[in-house]
């Protein structure tokens, strides 16, 4: 069952407290003061500058500056502007947004209200993956409470500012997490990503200027308003400030959520917080940020979990979903699961992606069965290379990177399958 984080900080401090899930309780614990301050004492420009200066980066995967994104919204434009809250969370290994929705919906809504004022948005669309039925119920209840209290609607907090919030439930498609796939889905269409440009800031939801941010990104905002930039920047690294919620899964003693400053060494999260691998076994590899992010071998786990350091190791923070694999693990099986997922979820618009994900999966499965050829590894690398930076959306890159990562650090597993014509890891997890 979903559990409060084992290590908490400002975002998740009250997640164990049922009070925090109700509007009254949230306010008793200091909630909605930041929104009141923003709407009554701060100009939109001040807010944009503040969030820019805070260094807050998106927590949905790409790590782009939230304040910068807000500043892209056109100012001299009569069209209504919109915000989107991306709660599609389907990146394998990620489960932090789920608890933010279930236990921290008002915190997220407060961040949304502040963002709305800063960008002059008329409405926010919260897009929640269809399988998150209970989390969506929690959000809808919180939205209704906030409307009732007059925090949303025609005269938000009595300031004359008007802002509406709508909740849309998805229906099972990973690609709807990509921001323009999400926009299509929001409009009642197939969730196929759009060609860019135009970018969402010019042509977004229902054709209007739109900014998309992740659930967690919004949730940081009230804290920055309440306690200031210096306070916020005391967490994390110079380039990657604040905390994030790491989700640890796989072969560890204490799988779960951990809210820690960005820049916390991966080894500290895996071995100290999550208790390391049970049964006296050793770690073989760790995926640091959701399935799209390349794996790290046991020797590289001292890396601080912030993009400026992870990039040096050819990987990224992604969603902070950390998957730990012990020494029994067959990395070709891992590649098989990963390539199957991307083959299954490709929306099919781009040839390189549709065909490339299919080929990669076919070749990997062949190698796993012991029917691979020496040349297969080169073909895999060739296909993966051609998928990068050549498609409508970053899904194809996200499909190529993990396979490249596995071949970079664990090519001996692939070679052993091909040479021995069978899987040499009898104790590995079952496929």
């Amino acid at each position: 069952m979903l559990q409060s984080p084992y290590v908490t900080s400002y975002l998740t401090e009250h997640f164990g407290n049922d009070e925090f899930t109700t509007l009254d309780g949230y306010e008793r614990l200091g909630g909605y003061q930041a929104a009141r301050k923003a709407l009554t004492e701060m100009s939109p420009d001040d807010l944009i500058e503040l969030v820019k200066a805070s260094g807050l980066q998106g927590r949905g995967g790409a790590g782009f500056s939230m304040g910068m994104k807000w500043s892209f919204m056109p100012k001299e434009d009569d069209r209504p502007k919109y915000l989107v809250c991306n709660a599609d969370e389907s990146e394998p290994g990620s489960f932090k947004d789920r608890i933010m929705l279930e236990r921290g919906a008002h915190q997220m809504l407060e961040g949304i209200l502040i963002a709305a004022w800063a960008t002059g948005a008329a409405a926010t669309f919260i897009y929640i993956r269809g399988e998150y039925s209970f989390p969506a119920d929690c959000v809808e209840r919180a939205v209704a409470e906030a409307y009732e209290k007059g925090y949303f609607g025609a005269n938000a907090m009595g300031t004359g500012f008007s802002h509406d919030v709508r909740v849309t439930r998805g229906a099972g498609a990973y690609i709807c997490g990509e921001e323009t796939g999400l926009l299509e889905s929001l409009e009642g269409k197939k969730g196929q990503p759009r060609k860019k440009p135009p970018f969402p800031a010019q042509y977004g939801a229902f054709g209007m200027p739109t900014t998309v941010n992740n659930v967690e990104t919004y949730s940081h905002v009230p804290h920055i308003i309440n306690k200031g930039i210096d306070w916020f920047r005391a967490f994390g690294t110079d380039k990657s400030p604040g905390t994030t919620i790491f989700g640890v899964s796989g072969h560890v003693a204490r799988p779960g959520l951990y809210e820690l400053p960005l820049g916390t060494p991966l080894s500290e999260i895996v071995f100290e917080h999550a208790g390391g691998v049970p049964g006296g076994r050793k770690v073989k590899g760790v995926i640091p940020g959701g399935m799209s992010m390349p794996i790290l071998p046991a020797g590289l786990l001292d890396v601080p979990m912030a993009n400026e350091f992870l990039r040096e190791q050819k990987t990224m923070l992604g969603t902070g979903g950390i998957m730990v694999m012990d020494e029994t693990t067959c990395m070709v099986r891992v590649a098989s699961i990963i390539s199957y997922f991307f083959r299954d979820e490709s929306c099919g618009q781009c040839t390189q992606c549709r065909e490339g994900t299919g080929w990669m999966n076919k070749i990997v499965e062949r190698i796993e069965r012991g029917a691979g050829e020496q040349s297969d590894i080169d073909v895999l690398l060739d296909v993966a290379g051609k998928m990068e930076a050549s498609t409508i959306c970053a899904f194809a890159d996200a499909a190529a990177w993990p396979i490249q990562g596995l071949l970079r650090h664990f090519s001996e597993d692939f070679i052993a399958h091909i040479g021995g014509r069978k899987c040499p890891f009898p104790e590995s997890f079952e496929l």
Partner: protein
């Protein structure tokens, strides 16, 4: 009319909340499916009228999303997550045992139409693996015995 009056008025209320009517289409499909179990051709025709689309466009949307069905469904949908975090913790063994417990091969329905057993990609329950989704509920931290008894207790 196949879509009932109350559902129809809920759909109309949803449409009013979006800048363009089609913004309410996914919600409408969820509502229709909750009432009928799937989005039938007749329902699609009515949805097409409501949203001023062609029926084929409605069916295209239905077929794009894993959670929408164009055919009658088993009473309960059971999906075992087989993505990496769950597989590392025995999800595939669990699925195989549930297959033999129910006498079906996933994806497939039991002979009495009570259960559809399938596998699904990551459901955001990675630390509580293995897990399964039954209809709109999650069952986490499973072992084989626990999972079997949950399946056995599902209604007709």
């Amino acid at each position: 009319m196949v879509i009932s009056e109350p559902i129809r008025s809920e759909i109309d209320a949803e449409i009013a909340k979006f800048p363009k009517p089609r913004g309410a289409l996914l919600r409408a499909m969820h509502l229709v499916q909750a009432e009928h179990g799937h989005v039938s051709t007749d329902c699609a025709r009515e949805l097409a009228e409501i949203f001023e689309m062609r029926p084929i466009e409605v069916m295209e949307v239905v077929s794009f999303y894993n959670m929408f069905f164009d055919k009658p469904q088993a009473k309960h949908h059971v999906y075992v997550c087989t993505n990496l975090p769950c597989s590392l913790r025995g999800a595939r063994v669990l699925l195989a045992q549930l297959e033999s417990h129910l006498g079906v091969q996933a994806p497939g329905d039991t002979a009495d139409g009570r259960i559809h057993l399938g596998h699904e990609e990551c459901l955001g329950a990675c630390a509580y693996a293995p897990m399964m989704r039954i209809d709109d509920q999650y069952f986490e931290d499973l072992d084989v015995e626990k999972a079997k008894s949950i399946l056995d207790s599902l209604g007709e």
